[in-house]
């Protein structure tokens, strides 16, 4: 294999897009969050506002309500939002990709425009109490009865299900076939009879994830995404996009915190111990390496080399960056360990974000699972059995 020079630069029209977006943002700033308004509701308003300006789904074809531009364009907008300390676009990119790749034409037209507009909010019902890393071991079943299915089972960790209208649900449609050919994907409306959503409180006090109980829930055949038994490749596409450095708006947010730490290193030069100062330098290195890595993956994608199992590199590098960054930030700003984060969870806002950074090595496939993927699928190392 030959490694050839890559162009790490932005295509020319991106500058223009960024300028237009900044101008739009100046006229349509982030709305005020209501006193009792839950964060997801507030973010949902923000999503609709961004969509009204045409800033959601830039990389989705126009027939499905997008702008027909490239991933790079969407990434540039995420970048601008992060750099302006504004919340990102709700993370629908990977769901949209799964639908574009696996749903029928009729389904794409039915769901994608509403997903992009924020008229339908989707959640992801993959994990179960008995099926976390070993997703293929799920036991929720969808049993066919003529033109529909009856679903029974339980999902866990379903983020924001309590604020969602639709769930991208995985269930077993065949109990005899091997796991990877017996799982199917569905779009389940959460107001359907037999669905119970119970929120769980996260360690940082947020209501993010939920339990989902499914008792004799009827799902129509037209709500199945792709062919029966084709849910596994859909799930793998979804999680691989979820791991990709390009499709998440995190990076520029890390950049803001890193700069805050570097300013502290300068302004408190005599006070901060040398060890902590080099730790700040190390956080900056992690962040810049991540920026370089994302730029390289973009350039490779544009050069026609696509994202495969290598997205596990992205996930591990993002995790490394995020976890060290928040650990260091708490040592630079120890006052964040005190006080009330605003949701009764004790500790400052930075502490809440620190707690969330601990989840980075768990969600989207744990760090151990990413290493398994690299070992088997990239390095071709043999299996134990």
């Amino acid at each position: 294999m030959n490694d050839t020079p890559l162009d790490f630069g932005d295509p020319a029209d991106l500058d223009d897009l960024r300028r237009r977006f900044r101008a739009w943002l100046a006229e349509h700033p982030l709305p005020e969050r209501g006193a009792d308004e839950p964060l997801p509701t507030f973010l949902h308003r923000w999503h609709r506002q961004l969509h009204s300006g045409g800033w959601v789904g830039l990389d989705v074809p126009q027939v499905y309500g997008g702008q027909g531009l490239s991933t790079l364009h969407q990434v540039a907008i995420s970048d601008e939002l992060g750099a302006g300390a504004a919340p990102g676009i709700p993370r629908i990119g990977y769901l949209a990709h799964a639908l574009m790749e696996f749903a029928s034409e009729e389904q794409r037209q039915r769901w994608l425009p509403r997903m992009l507009a924020g008229e339908d909010v989707w959640c992801q019902g993959f994990s179960e109490p008995g099926a976390g890393s070993d997703l293929a071991g799920m036991s929720t079943t969808a049993t066919r009865e003529g033109d529909h299915y009856i679903v029974n089972g339980q999902k866990l960790w379903t983020s924001y299900a309590q604020y969602s209208g639709l769930c991208l649900l995985l269930a077993r449609t065949d109990r005899s076939a091997p796991a990877h050919t017996s799982i199917s994907a569905f779009a389940l409306p959460l107001d359907r009879a037999g669905v119970t959503v119970r929120p769980l409180r996260a360690a940082n006090g947020d209501d993010e994830f939920c339990e989902l109980f499914l008792d004799d829930v009827r799902i129509e055949e037209s709500e199945r995404i792709g062919a029966e038994g084709n849910g596994w490749p859909l799930a793998m596409t979804t999680v691989s996009y979820e791991r990709n450095a390009l499709d998440t708006g995190h990076i520029s947010k890390y950049g803001l915190l890193v700069e805050r730490l570097r300013r502290a290193a300068r302004d408190r030069r005599d006070e901060l111990p040398d060890g902590l100062r080099s730790e700040i330098g190390r956080c900056f290195v992690d962040y810049e390496v991540l920026v370089a890595h994302a730029a390289r993956r973009t350039a490779e994608r544009l050069a026609g080399r696509t994202a495969g199992p290598e997205s596990s590199y992205d996930k591990l590098l993002m995790t490394r960056t995020e976890q060290r960054l928040y650990e260091t930030a708490l040592r630079v700003f120890p006052e964040e360990l005190f006080g009330d984060g605003g949701n009764g969870a004790e500790g400052g806002e930075l502490f809440g974000e620190y707690l969330y950074s601990r989840a980075a090595s768990v969600y989207g496939g744990t760090s151990q699972i990413q290493r398994n993927i690299i070992a088997k699928q990239v390095l071709g190392l043999p299996s134990a059995r």
């Binding site: 490694d3 790490f8 700069e259 900056f284 810049e288 390289r296 190392l381 043999p382």
Partner: protein, 325 residues
């Protein structure tokens, strides 16, 4: 360079590296000289010798990766890529000494040279007969070479610079040129080290597939798989950082390129060393022998991490915002 032309040059370097790689730590002086002569015949010093240069920094960085991937005694960095770049930067103002092959001079601890009067060595000096020293103020002088200086890295030649040797002033770099020069040197050294780490990790992955214990290949043990996966991610991080920094040298202002180059060196200092250490662990006892190439890689990477700028130097500098911003 045109894409096809670059592939040809890259292939030349790869073939050269495969042919002249050393198989053990018992090095023959005559083989060293022959390898350097063969490298000289590839004519690569022209790549950055002309103005504007024939090859981009990114192309040179990829060649340095290729050269680093094998245990080689040849001086690609010092005599072929770094010294010619320095002379190119000095341009017509330089007073080149006809018929000489310069490499570059570093401080005795292998960092960038300090103020005049501090001791110097000629670094990566196989085949060189002069050493160009860039002082912190940008003044470039040319010094004579003394006897060899033994060092941990058995591959890379280092010679002393006699303290009393008269140093002729060759020219002077402007502030931007000095910044460019430092960034360029950091990026190319980082690239060579990343090439070494990548290659050694690849060799240890192959070994993990072949070596059997407990009736199965050791590469099927998850503990070994995770070590190799970590080493792979470290190599990828170093690769992204160095190639991006090289691109910055071709396309961004020198100050930005220097920051990216410092980041790349800081990343590679840590990740290349960790990756090679992991590779050695996977080889087990065999990698602890004099005959095995493992220690050649380790020595090169270890000394490389302290060359030009140490991790401590870099992290302290990078901890604060750039003043210009």
């Amino acid at each position: 360079m045109q894409a096809e032309e670059f592939l040809l040059v890259q292939d030349l370097v790869r073939t050269f590296a495969g042919r002249h790689r050393v198989e053990s730590a018992d090095l023959e002086p005559s083989a060293r000289a022959a390898a350097q002569k063969a490298l000289g015949e590839l004519g690569l010093a022209e790549l950055r010798g002309s103005s504007p240069p024939a090859a981009t920094v990114q192309e040179c960085a990829l060649l340095a990766e290729e050269h680093g991937s094998q245990p080689l005694t040849t001086s690609l960095l010092g005599t072929v890529l770094l010294a010619p770049e320095l002379l190119r930067l000095l341009g017509d103002g330089a007073a080149p000494e006809v018929g000489t092959t310069p490499t570059i001079a570093l401080a005795r601890d292998l960092r960038f040279p300090g103020p005049p009067g501090d001791g110097l060595v000629a670094w990566d000096c196989e085949g060189a007969d002069r050493a160009l020293c860039v002082a912190p103020d940008g003044t470039v002088t040319s010094a004579e070479l003394g006897p060899a200086v033994p060092a941990a890295d058995l591959l890379r030649g280092i010679r002393s610079v006699p303290p009393g040797s008269p140093a002729a002033t060759v020219g002077r770099l402007g502030p931007e040129q000095l910044t460019h020069w430092q960034a360029y040197a950091l990026v190319l050294l980082s690239s060579e080290l990343v090439g070494a780490a990548r290659s050694f990790v690849r060799q240890s992955v192959e070994y993990a597939r072949e070596r059997r214990q407990y009736g199965r290949s050791i590469g099927s043990f998850q503990a070994v798989q995770h070590l190799l996966a970590d080493a792979t991610v470290l190599v990828e991080a170093g690769t992204s950082a160095t190639r991006y920094a090289a691109w910055c040298l071709d396309n961004q202002p020198p100050a930005r390129a220097l920051t990216a180059a410092r980041v790349a060196k800081a990343e590679v200092n840590a990740s290349a060393l960790d990756a090679v250490s992991i590779g050695m662990q996977v080889f087990g006892g065999i990698a602890q022998t004099w005959e095995h190439v493992a220690h050649l890689y380790l020595r090169k990477v270890l000394l490389g991490t302290t060359t030009l700028a140490t991790t401590a130097d870099l992290l302290t500098t990078l901890a604060e915002p750039e003043t210009a911003r």
